[in-house]
């Protein structure tokens, strides 16, 4: 007993220990600028492409809301896993996190979205719900959204020969409204996300 008591006294009242205890120097508790934290807004204008939401792997981590000043993305920190895919997918650089934007700029890389629409003609009844509900069609031809009369071939989708036909897949924005409103599960939209190394800009 006596042995251990003196042991403790000797151990804790060493000058070196006291100096360390009272004047210790640790690294400052600050987050470095290059840390990939929750995405933040850069102040650039959101064009409501929703690529951030489409790229996000964590359910409920990001949404894009409309305010009187315009659209802007909103991060839900409890859900966000800080992967940074939304930052990379945004075509306008609305979001930033860590060095992602700089790295993309110096490496000349980007995440690119493209969409593919498949129609199962066996299941399609040609009801036209997809073509009438399609927001892209609505902008191209108001007659389409007012009852399904296609008056131009510039449309993204229309009903032809009794089946839904994709005319201009490149106009698709990947919103999947057609897929959500198809009663027969005949139409499906694939969102293809690929990492691309953009070609060098010509001097």
């Amino acid at each position: 007993m006596a042995f251990s008591f003196t042991y403790y006294l000797r151990e804790f009242f060493r000058l070196e220990w006291l100096r360390k205890f009272l004047f210790v120097r640790t690294a400052p508790l600050a987050i470095p600028s290059y840390f990939r934290n929750f995405p933040e807004l850069t102040g650039k204008t959101c064009t409501h492409h929703l690529f951030c939401m489409m790229a996000c792997p964590a359910p409920g981590a990001i949404d894009v809301i409309r305010t009187p000043e315009g659209w802007h993305p909103r991060i839900h920190q409890g859900h966000c896993i800080r992967c940074g895919l939304c930052v990379e997918a945004c075509p306008n650089g609305v979001l930033t996190s860590g060095r992602i934007l700089e790295t993309m700029f110096f490496d000349n890389t980007a995440l690119s979205f493209s969409f593919r629409i498949d129609v199962d003609t066996e299941r399609c009844m040609g009801c036209g719900n997809c073509a009438v509900a399609c927001p892209v069609n609505k902008l191209i031809d108001p007659q389409m959204s007012h009852g399904g009369r296609a008056s131009t071939d510039e449309l993204l989708l229309k009903v032809s020969e009794g089946k839904c036909k994709v005319l201009h897949v490149e106009k698709c924005t990947g919103c999947k409204i057609c897929e959500d409103h198809c009663p027969n599960e005949a139409i499906s939209v694939a969102r293809l996300l690929e990492a691309v190394h953009a070609p060098e800009e010509e001097p």
Partner: protein, 429 residues
């Protein structure tokens, strides 16, 4: 040749915005039409000429001989039945009613096995309906009860209700609520905001429950009504009461399930209750493209919409007695003229057997189940493809169908006109 604004002669939607290409007396492509329109307009399986059954096989006969024989069959009969009419144009239907009057025959249309009970209910309590244009431009709540428009009227949702932007409903399906009430999940319920699954035969009880809730007697409602929870009933009643303009569309799921015309009466009375809170309308989903027209034409000539018996020399109407199924089942009828419909495929077996026993003449462009019961078939032009005429859309709007090309077949009107002339000549009136 491209023909614009073609009217589709298939279902009661009567879509009039089709773009059709025609080459060498054939339709080669159809734009904007659903898969049913496409099949109807592109079909190429018509009967080439009139055929008569002789000792178990078919013999070709001329139009003139076929018309003469039809007139003779009808003149010989004591109780002829003229059935069908929903797949032809109003002008031909009109000749049909006059022919029935001349013969003292029974004339009936396909409503007899379709929306007949709906008409009975409408005769009891009226029809708070509106045109589909009003629904498109105003309705923010759509109810489909016992109907599956995606299968039977594919463009109903995209052209008139859920998906079509209207004058007061700028953002169609985002502003509209769709309620589907049925005994099973359907394609239409897949795109509904609220699906109410009713037990088979429970529609009347659910309608009564909804009426009670709308009337403010919700505390009477038990925990479940015909498989529908109290909570869901209140939710549905709330959606309906808070609508700016609501439209109920009902199909045969309501009309032909137990309760029949009383179901429809209850649905109309629910609509009436809802009109104490907001604007609500109710309309039947009519099947054949011109079945509404056959009711209209029969009514304006005889006073009755279907099952009209001229045997007494005046128009007599008593569904259950003068309806085709009852006349055939009792074996009363001794000759039948079938126009633009297919009772062989849709009537009960006993009726089809009787049709096979008596001389049955069919006026129809295609070989169908009735052909196998008939003694004579006369092919005609298809109204809306190679014949023109007036048709009534499911909401009672008359639309003139167009002739896409000059075909070689005579129209229903020509054939019936000739039969009428021969009968008139023989009767000497």
């Amino acid at each position: 040749m491209k023909v614009e604004d073609v009217v589709c002669p298939f279902c009661g939607c009567l879509c009039d915005d089709l773009v059709v290409e025609v080459e060498n007396n054939r339709v080669t492509s159809v734009e904007n039409g659903c898969t049913l329109a496409n099949e109807k307009l592109m079909e190429d399986h018509r009967l080439k000429n009139p055929i008569r059954r002789e000792r178990g096989s078919w013999k070709d006969v001329s139009y003139d001989a076929a018309i003469q024989e039809t007139a003779e069959i009808l003149l010989d009969a004591d109780r002829p039945l003229l059935y069908g009419w929903s797949g032809t144009h109003g002008e031909a239907q009109s000749v049909g009613v006059h022919l029935a009057e001349l013969l003292g025959a029974v004339i009936d249309n396909t409503s007899t096995v379709c929306h007949g009970p709906s008409i009975l209910a409408i005769q009891e309590v009226g029809h708070p309906g509106c045109t589909l244009g009003q629904v498109k431009n105003r309705a923010d709540v759509i109810v489909y009860w016992g109907a599956n428009p995606i299968d039977a009227h594919p463009r109903h949702m995209s052209r008139y209700t859920t998906y079509a932007d209207g004058f007061f409903v700028k953002d169609a399906f985002k502003e509209r609520k769709v309620i589907v009430i049925d005994v099973r999940k359907t394609e239409s319920s897949a795109v509904a905001n609220e699906f109410v699954k009713v037990d088979q035969g429970g529609d009347y009880a659910v309608l009564s429950a909804l009426r009670a809730i709308v009337r403010g007697k919700g505390d009477l409602i038990p925990v479940k009504v015909a498989g529908v929870t109290r909570e869901q009933l209140f939710r549905v009643a709330d959606i309906c009461k808070n609508a700016k303009f609501g439209a109920i569309f009902f199909g045969l799921g309501l009309t032909m399930s137990p309760g029949k015309n009383k179901n429809i009466r209850n649905a109309i009375e629910l609509t009436e209750e809802l009109n104490r809170h907001t604007k609500f309308t109710i309309s039947p989903m009519r099947g054949h493209w011109n079945v509404y027209g056959s009711n209209e034409v029969f009514t304006w000539i005889s006073g009755y919409p279907y099952a009209v018996d001229f045997a007494r020399g005046i128009a007599f109407y008593n569904p259950g007695e003068t309806t085709s199924v009852d006349i055939l089942r009792r074996g009363e009828c001794d000759a039948c003229l079938v126009v633009a419909s297919d009772p062989g495929a849709h009537f009960p077996r006993a009726c089809a057997e009787h049709l096979a026993r008596i001389p049955t003449v069919q006026i129809d462009p295609h070989v169908n189940a009735t052909t196998h019961l008939a003694t004579l078939q006369i092919p005609v032009a298809v109204t809306g493809i190679d014949a023109e005429g007036t048709a009534y859309r499911m909401d009672g709007v008359p639309i003139r169908t167009r002739k896409l090309y000059e075909g070689t077949y005579p129209s229903d009107l020509e054939i019936l006109g000739k039969i009428y002339a021969r009968v008139k000549e023989a009767k000497g009136s």
